[in-house]
């Protein structure tokens, strides 16, 4: 399931809704992305997340379908926020539920790696020196590219 929202989310409630009551699920791997208070050695007061409504949902649905194609998953969830967020706020939740931990861990990692390079979101950081758009990190591209070479179990 994919959700794009301004509001915060409750991790426990989301996981219960995702896998609760499904006896086929042996494990759920979870990634929660948070806002840090520093970037490039400078204090960050807030970030604003912009996205491309329509394409965002489409890309995330494709990424989720690809995860299900690669691993035996019972359920997956991606919740991504937009709008203004403060340090320590939750940004994104990715969860993968499977019979066994390998598929859950790998699918969770795959979902966040691909999301970071394919889903049309942009971060604007509010710093003392002014507002600054976040630049792409080469390590993110490398992480996503690695999955195009790797085989799932």
């Amino acid at each position: 399931m994919i959700r794009i929202q301004r509001e915060d989310f409750d991790v426990g409630a989301e996981l219960e809704a995702l896998a609760g009551g499904n006896p086929k699920v042996g494990g759920v791997a979870v990634f929660v992305g948070l806002v840090r208070d520093v970037a490039g050695g400078e204090a960050v007061r807030a970030i604003t997340l912009e996205h491309y409504p329509g394409m965002t949902e489409k890309k995330l649905a494709e990424i989720e379908a690809e995860a299900h194609r690669r691993w035996p998953l019972e359920a997956t969830l991606v919740v991504h926020r937009y709008g203004e967020l403060k340090p320590t706020d939750r940004i994104v939740l990715v969860a993968a539920a499977s019979a066994h931990r390998d598929a859950a861990f790998e699918a969770c990692r795959f979902l966040i790696d691909w999301l970071k390079t394919k889903a049309p979101f942009w971060k604007l950081e509010d710093k003392a020196s002014g507002a600054q758009w976040v630049e792409t990190r080469e390590s993110d591209d490398a992480a996503a590219t690695a999955w195009t070479k790797k085989k799932s179990r």
């Binding site: 996205h51 491309y52 970071k116 889903a119 979101f121 942009w122 604007l124 758009w133």
Partner: protein, 83 residues
């Protein structure tokens, strides 16, 4: 066709969305970007480095040689930084 601008490309062009009717020699993404660059200093600045501009036609990532047609939704934006 409808053009959408996001993130710093939007702040440089000064607009988020517009309807345009380019001349008939604008047939693909590369020629569209060249034409858009000629529409003002903000557009030229936003689109000056083609490596920094990602393009989606009808919400799919495409390259410069992808055709553009009347009725298309074309989005121009920097590399993504979500997550």
């Amino acid at each position: 066709m409808k053009i959408l601008y996001f993130a710093w490309i939007r702040t440089k062009t000064g607009i988020a969305a517009e309807e345009v009717s380019p001349p008939t020699d604008v047939t693909d993404v590369a020629s569209l970007i060249d034409w858009l660059k000629g529409r003002g200093a903000g557009f030229a600045e936003a689109l000056k480095n083609p490596n920094a501009v990602r393009v989606a036609v009808n919400q799919e990532y495409v390259k410069g040689d992808h055709p553009v047609r009347a009725g298309d939704e074309i989005a121009l934006f920097p590399p993504v930084t979500g997550g």
